[in-house]
């Protein structure tokens, strides 16, 4: 755990840069984290991000397939928005925890 200043706000982040407290999240913070990964967020990115925040708050298990079935974007499109690791990056920008297995 470490503290980091993002968009003028000091927040706690994990070693990999994920927000520790989802309540700290703001759109501005999302934009700044995305910038560090070289991604400029658009409205479409935010639609995915809002969806992930809503599903994760409801306790759902997230997966690439689930986002693909959401009606917001298909899997190919999701890869274009978040190249390299769509769920990993979109979760990071959404201020929710990193997708993880049990070990």
């Amino acid at each position: 755990m470490a503290q980091k200043t993002l968009a003028g706000k000091t927040v706690e982040v994990t070693d990999e840069g994920y927000l520790v407290n989802r309540k700290d999240w703001t759109k501005e913070i999302a934009i700044e984290i995305a910038k560090e990964e070289g991604i400029e967020l658009t409205e479409k990115h935010f639609e995915v991000i809002e969806y992930l925040r809503k599903e994760s708050a409801a306790g759902a298990q997230l997966s690439i397939r689930k986002v693909g079935k959401s009606g917001i974007v298909d899997i190919k499109g999701l890869y274009q928005l978040f190249p390299g690791g769509p769920l990993k990056y979109s979760s990071k920008f959404a201020g929710i925890s990193k997708p993880a297995s049990c070990v």
Partner: protein, 411 residues
């Protein structure tokens, strides 16, 4: 006469039938359990079949042997549940009314969800080990194989027994070493996650095993299709991984009856309160085991721990009291690492696997996040425990909720 209906006579449903019949008055409560299949599989044993450690006979017994007297067992496919009317419709039109329903229909593999997976190489050079048929076919294949590229790939999360693919590559390393062709076998582990290990402490304690055993890991690879002619995996971002033999964890989803009943999410896992284990749709419907959408591992140990919480809450519901027992997502899993050793992990919704001893603090005999011989014996002995104690709903000397006693906090 009041009635409890249990859907599914796998690990979860069978445990619950036993627990309930041991407790509830036979004059007052009828218990009915429904399943379409007659064979009970010891699923943790599937992993050993490809390597000839177990054979088919070692992992199968009749389901009926584990259903106690005084429980009505119906062998039938299930069409749907009508929650508003408290009715279950079986295939063929038979209707079961219930006062309480327990959904324990598990998770299934759907290879057809991935284009090219269940195609001309299926069970020839592409296998799963989540079905007895796949595990047996792979055993036959390995007997005649002279080496090449072995790829173990996970298509999607969540899937049953998250550590099984890791165990598979560890056991493959040991197996090919044992028959003297390890230098001719190239083992690659492919995952849509960010690594073979994703939790910080487990990564630190166990990831060296992969290096030691010369197993290559390709993370963040999400399979779009399998190219049968080119014998390669193709990802959504158009990367390719060639294989000579592919072992795969197909997409997991809940039973289609969950969809027909309107009880689930888009992967057909039942929407479930992660603490009370009650369905989010109907108060008199509870969910046990892999069928639930709760954010913990899909594993028998979870079903076992959760069964005690569900039992308490069901008793409360019957007496009109609030549901006070809260499940914590407790899971406990052996990880076979090959060469007669194993590791053990114990965790819940909030606590990642930590090092320590289990079940007795400071004593063990099992070591958490440690690779030891005794952990392997634990897994070997577990098959006996499963058939003779666990399924019968008898007590094990392990608490349902996770404890920090015996665990070490690591920074």
């Amino acid at each position: 006469m009041k009635r409890i209906v249990i859907l599914g006579a796998g690990t979860a449903g069978t445990m619950m039938a036993n627990k309930l019949r041991n407790t509830l008055d036979k004059e007052e409560w009828n218990i009915t359990i429904v399943d379409q299949f007659k064979t009970h599989y010891y699923q943790p044993g599937f992993l050993f079949i490809p390597f000839g450690i177990y054979n088919k006979e070692d992992v199968i017994k009749p389901k009926a042997d584990f259903i106690p007297a005084g429980v009505d067992m119906i062998f039938s496919a299930i069409d749907r549940v009508e929650g508003e009317a408290n009715k279950v419709y079986l295939e063929g039109g038979k209707i079961l009314n219930y006062d309480y329903l327990i959904v324990a229909t598990g998770t299934k593999t759907y290879p057809e969800e991935t284009p090219g997976l269940k195609d001309k190489l299926w069970y020839k050079e592409i296998f799963d080990f989540y079905t007895v048929e796949g595990a047996v076919a792979l055993q036959k294949f390995f007997k005649g194989w002279e080496g090449g590229k072995l790829v173990m790939a996970i298509t999607e999360v969540p899937y049953k027994c998250p550590v099984a693919p890791l165990e598979f590559v560890f056991l493959a390393d040991a197996y090919f070493t044992g028959i003297g062709i390890r230098d001719k076998v190239d083992i690659t582990f492919v995952t849509p996650m960010s690594g073979a290990f994703t939790k910080p402490i487990a990564t630190k304690m166990l990831s060296e095993l992969l290096e030691e055993k010369n197993i290559k890991v390709i993370p963040d690879f999400y399979i779009e299709h399998v190219d049968n002619d080119g014998k390669k995996l193709v990802s959504y971002d158009e990367l390719e991984i060639p294989f000579d033999v592919l072992t795969v964890v197909p997409v997991n989803m809940g039973d289609a009856l969950v969809e027909r009943s309107g009880l689930g999410d888009d992967m057909n896992f039942v929407l479930t309160d992660k603490e009370t284990l009650q369905s989010k749709k109907f108060e008199n419907v509870f969910v046990l085991g892999d069928a639930a959408n709760i954010p913990t591992s899909k594993a028998g140990s979870v079903a076992h721990f959760a069964s005690e919480i569900l039992f308490e809450n069901l008793m409360s519901a019957m007496e009109g009291r609030p549901l006070k027992a809260k499940f914590d997502g407790h899971a406990n899993c052996y990880i076979e690492t090959g060469h007669g050793k194993g590791a053990l992990i114990d965790f819940n919704y909030d606590t990642e696997p930590l090092p320590g001893t289990f079940p007795l603090p400071g004593i063990g005999p099992f070591g958490l996040l440690k690779n030891t011989k005794i952990n392997h014996y634990g897994k070997v002995m577990f098959r006996w425990i499963y058939w003779h104690i666990l399924l019968k709903g008898k007590e094990l000397p392990v608490e349902p909720l996770m404890t920090m006693a015996g665990k070490k906090r690591v920074n």
